[in-house]
C-alpha cells in the first residue's frame, strides 16, 4: 500500500514535471524557419543538385571525360558521350547527362572525380513538371565561372591548374603557330582553318560579351546567394554552351582537313578562344572590352596571312 502510494506520488511528480517542461516550451522562440521567405544557410558540403564546374581562373571546362563518375554511380544515372580526338589523342567531351530523377545524391561521383569537375551545388529547388526535364544535359549542368569560383571557395577545394593543353611552342604565339602550320601544310587548308578559327573566335567574343552582361546583372544580386546564382545560371549557361559549340566547330574544322597539320591549329584556335574569354573576364567594362575583343579577333584573322 505504502509502495503504491509512493509510486503514485512519484508518477504524479513526473507527469507534473513533464507538463511543466512542455508548458515552458511555449516561451521559447519557434525553431521553424519559414522556408520560402527565409532560406537556411546550407553547409558547404550539402549534397544538392549536381553540376559541372569550370576552372575558376580560366573558365576551362574541367571534365576530362575519364568516366570515373559514370562508373561509380550506383544508380547509373550519369551518361557521358565523348570521343577520342584523333589529333590530340585526348578525349573530347561531347555531352554529359545526369538524370536527377534517378540520382540519390550520394555524392560518390563528386568523390571520385579527379579534377573536382562534378560537384554538389547548394541548389535543391529542382521541382519540375516531367521526368524528362530532370535529365540535365551539359548545357544545364555546366556552371559559370562565377558560380564555380563560389563553390570552389565555399568547399575550400584546391584551385585546379590551368589546362596544359597548349604546348609551349603554341603558347609562345598562336599566330606564329598558325603561320607555321600554314607554311607546312599548304595555303588553302591553312586559310580555311584560319577562317574557321576566326569565326569561332568571333562567336566566342560574342558569347563572352553576353556572359559579361549576365555577370553584370548578377553583380546586383550578390554572389553569395546560391539561389540567385542558380537562377542566373540559365542565362549564363547559354553563352557558355555557345562557346562549347564554337570549340566544337573548331574541332570539326580540324577533322575536315586532315591533310593540313591540324594539331597546332586546333590548339591555337582553342587557345584563342580561351584568351578571348580570359581577357573578357579581366576587363572591367565588359561591353567595351567585348568590342575590343572582336577587333582583336579581326586583327588575329589578318595576322596569319
Amino acid at each position: 500500500m505504502a509502495n503504491l502510494l509512493d509510486r503514485a506520488v512519484e508518477s504524479f511528480k513526473r507527469v507534473g514535471e513533464g507538463l511543466k517542461t512542455v508548458f515552458m516550451h511555449s516561451f521559447r522562440e519557434p525553431t521553424t524557419q519559414e522556408y520560402p521567405e527565409k532560406i537556411q544557410d546550407l553547409a558547404p558540403h550539402f549534397r544538392g543538385r549536381l553540376a559541372l564546374a569550370v576552372n575558376p581562373d580560366t573558365g576551362d571546362h574541367l571534365c576530362i571525360s575519364c568516366r570515373q563518375c559514370e562508373r561509380v554511380c550506383p544508380d547509373k544515372c550519369i551518361e557521358i558521350t565523348a570521343h577520342k580526338s584523333p589529333e590530340t589523342n585526348k578525349l573530347e567531351l561531347i555531352d554529359f547527362k545526369i538524370d536527377h530523377g534517378l540520382c540519390m545524391f550520394c555524392g560518390l561521383c563528386t568523390e571520385v572525380c579527379p579534377t573536382t569537375c562534378i560537384i554538389n551545388t547548394n541548389d535543391f529547388e529542382m521541382a519540375d513538371y516531367s521526368r524528362e526535364s530532370l535529365i540535365y544535359d551539359i548545357k544545364r549542368l555546366t556552371l559559370t565561372q562565377d558560380e564555380s569560383t563560389y563553390y570552389f571557395d565555399k568547399k575550400e577545394l584546391p584551385r585546379p591548374k590551368p589546362k596544359a593543353a597548349a604546348k609551349p611552342a603554341a603558347a609562345a604565339g598562336a599566330a606564329g603557330a598558325a603561320a607555321k602550320s600554314a607554311a607546312a601544310g599548304g595555303d588553302a587548308a591553312a586559310k580555311a582553318a584560319a577562317a574557321k578559327a576566326a569565326a569561332a573566335k568571333a562567336a566566342a567574343a560574342k558569347a563572352a560579351a553576353a556572359k559579361a552582361a549576365a555577370a553584370k546583372t548578377d553583380d546586383g544580386e550578390t554572389k553569395a546567394e546560391p539561389k540567385a546564382e542558380s537562377k542566373s545560371e540559365e542565362k549564363a549557361a547559354e553563352p557558355k554552351a555557345d562557346a562549347e559549340a564554337a570549340k566544337k566547330d573548331v574541332v570539326e574544322a580540324k577533322t575536315e582537313d586532315i591533310t593540313a597539320e591540324p594539331k597546332a591549329d586546333a590548339e591555337a584556335a582553342k587557345k584563342d578562344v580561351v584568351e578571348a574569354k580570359t581577357e573578357d573576364k579581366a576587363a572591367e567594362a565588359p561591353e567595351k572590352d567585348a568590342k575590343k575583343d572582336v577587333k582583336e579577333a579581326k586583327a588575329d584573322e589578318k595576322d596569319p596571312e
Partner: protein, 469 residues
C-alpha cells in the same frame, strides 16, 4: 521569450471566441427574443388588432423553445473550427513550432478553409461495408453531443429564461447517459467499415469506454452526493460566492470558512460572535475541521479522476487508442471521408467541449466569478458598471439583447471551459499514448478502486461537515 507567438495565439483565441459566441448570442437573441416579440408585440399593433392570434402566439412559443437547440447548432461547427485551430496553434507553441500561419490573417482562416475542403471531398463507402450502418454511425456519434449538452445550457447561462426549458431535475444523470452513447457509434463505425483497423479501433473503444466510464461516473456521483441534487442548475447555484464554495474545494466544506473569514480578518464588524456560526457549519469543532480538509483532498482527487475518465471517454491522447494513428491508421474512422468524416471530427471536438463544461459546472462553480468578493469591493466597479448600464440600456432594456447576469456567467464559463481545453491540449502535447494493457491496468486496478475509496470517504466525512447538499 516568445511573445510574438503567444500574442498570436491569444489574438486567435479572442477573435474566434468572439466570432463563435457572438454568432450564438445573436442567433439566440434573434430567434428567442426579437422575432417572438416582433410578431406578438409589433405585428398586432400594425395590423390594428388587439391581441395576437393564437397561431402567432404558438409560433412565438415554438421559436422560443427551439432556441436551445438552435444555439447548439450554431455553436458546434464554429466552435469545432476554433478548437482545431486553437489546438494546432497551442501544440505548435508547446513543440516550439509555429503552426498554421499562412491562410487568412496569420492562419486565422485555416480551419474555415479546411472545413470547406472537407465538405467537397468525395464521400466513399467501401466495398463490402454495411452501407446503412456506415452512414448511421457518424449520426449516432454526433447526436448525443447536441441533445446531451442541452441541460448544461441553463447551468452555464445563469438559468436564463430561454434555456430553462432544457433543464432537467436529473440533469447530470441525463448528460452522463447521453455521453455514453457515442461508444455504440464507434463500435458500429468500426464494424460496418469492413476494415480490420476500423474493427480493432471500434472494439478498443468499447473496452476503453467500459473501463473508464466507471471512474468517471463514480466521481460525478460522489459530487452529486456532496451537492445533494442531480440538477445542474442547482449545483451551480450552490457554488456561487467565490472560489471557496466551489465543488473542487470540498463541495461546500469550506463555505463556512468563506463566510467567517471576513470576521476573523477584521474586514467587517468585529464584535460579531463567530463561534455560533462556526458551530452551525462545523458541528464537532476539531473533527469537522479535519474532515473538511479530507473532503478538500477527496474532491481535488475526484476532479483529477473526472478529467482522466473524461479524457478516455472522448478518446483524447493519452487515451486515443481507438484511433491510434501509428497503430491503426486512424482506427474507427479509417474508412470515412468527406462529410461523414467531418461529422466525426465535429463531434469529437464538441465532446471535448462538453466534458469541459461538465467539469466547469460540477467542479469549478459554473459561471461563478473566481475573483474574491473582497477584491471586487475595493475596485471602483460600481460607477463603471452604472455607466455601462446606462450606455447600453437600449440594448439591455428595450431590445433585451444583453442580460448582464447571463453575460458574466457565460463569460466565466467560457474562460473556465477553454482553460480546461487548453490543459487537455497541454496533456496531449506531453504524454505518450498508453498501451492497451496499461490502459486496462490503469483503469481497473487504479482508477476504479480509487474512485470507490473516495466515494466511501466522502460518504463518511460529510456527516461531520455541512456541505452544499
Amino acid at each position: 521569450m516568445n511573445a510574438a507567438e503567444i500574442y498570436k495565439l491569444s489574438r486567435l483565441a479572442i477573435f474566434w471566441l468572439s466570432v463563435t459566441f457572438g454568432a450564438v448570442w445573436v442567433a439566440c437573441w434573434g430567434v428567442g427574443v426579437f422575432i417572438p416579440s416582433l410578431i406578438t408585440g409589433k405585428m398586432p399593433f400594425l395590423l390594428q388588432v388587439d391581441n395576437p392570434s393564437t397561431t402567432v402566439v404558438f409560433i412565438a412559443d415554438l421559436l422560443r423553445s427551439l432556441t436551445p437547440i438552435l444555439s447548439l447548432l450554431v455553436f458546434i461547427p464554429i466552435n469545432a473550427m476554433f478548437m482545431v485551430l486553437f489546438e494546432r496553434r497551442s501544440l505548435a507553441l508547446f513543440t516550439v513550432r509555429m503552426g498554421p500561419n499562412r491562410h487568412g490573417f496569420d492562419g486565422l482562416a485555416q480551419t474555415a478553409a479546411d472545413a470547406v475542403k472537407l465538405l467537397f471531398k468525395e464521400d466513399i463507402t467501401p466495398r463490402g461495408a454495411d452501407a446503412f450502418m456506415f452512414t448511421l454511425a457518424p449520426i449516432i456519434f454526433f447526436a448525443p453531443s447536441i441533445f446531451g449538452a442541452l441541460p448544461l445550457l441553463a447551468a452555464v447561462t445563469n438559468n436564463h429564461d430561454l434555456f430553462k426549458v432544457a433543464n432537467l431535475p436529473t440533469g447530470i444523470f441525463y448528460i452522463l447517459a447521453a455521453a455514453s452513447i457515442p461508444v455504440v457509434a464507434l463500435v458500429m463505425a468500426g464494424w460496418a467499415s469492413n476494415n480490420k483497423y476500423s474493427l480493432v479501433g471500434g472494439l478498443r473503444s468499447a473496452a476503453q469506454a467500459i473501463s473508464y466510464e466507471i471512474p468517471l461516473v463514480l466521481s460525478l456521483v460522489t459530487m452529486c452526493l456532496l451537492a445533494g441534487t442531480l440538477d445542474v442548475v442547482e449545483i451551480v447555484e450552490q457554488q456561487k460566492g467565490g472560489i471557496l464554495n466551489w465543488n473542487i474545494l470540498g463541495g461546500g466544506a469550506l463555505s463556512g470558512y468563506d463566510k467567517l473569514a471576513p470576521y476573523w480578518l477584521n474586514l467587517v464588524d468585529t464584535s460579531f460572535d463567530t463561534s455560533a456560526m462556526f458551530g452551525q457549519f462545523y458541528p464537532v469543532p476539531w473533527l469537522s475541521s479535519i474532515m473538511a480538509f479530507v473532503l478538500v483532498i477527496c474532491t481535488v482527487l475526484l476532479f483529477g479522476l473526472y478529467l482522466t475518465g473524461a479524457c478516455a471517454e472522448i478518446n483524447r491522447i493519452p487515451f486515443d487508442l481507438p484511433e491510434a494513428e501509428s497503430e491503426l491508421v486512424s482506427g474507427y474512422n479509417t474508412e470515412y471521408s468527406g462529410i461523414k468524416f467531418a461529422i466525426f471530427f465535429l463531434a469529437e471536438f464538441t465532446n471535448l467541449f462538453v466534458v469541459s463544461s461538465i467539469a466547469t459546472v460540477m467542479f469549478l462553480g459554473g459561471g461563478d466569478n473566481p475573483i474574491p468578493k473582497w477584491i471586487l469591493d475595493r475596485l471602483p466597479l460600481e460607477p463603471i458598471s452604472n455607466a455601462l448600464g446606462s450606455l447600453l440600456s437600449p440594448l439591455i432594456k428595450d431590445l433585451m439583447f444583453i442580460d448582464p447576469a447571463t453575460f458574466w456567467a457565460a463569460f466565466w464559463v467560457i474562460v473556465k471551459v477553454y482553460s480546461i481545453v487548453f490543459f487537455a491540449i497541454l496533456v496531449r502535447g506531453t504524454l505518450p499514448r498508453f498501451r492497451i494493457d496499461q490502459l486496462m491496468d490503469f483503469g481497473w486496478k487504479r482508477l476504479i478502486p480509487l474512485a470507490l475509496i473516495l466515494f466511501v470517504v466522502v460518504v463518511f466525512a460529510r456527516t461531520w461537515v455541512v456541505c452544499h447538499g
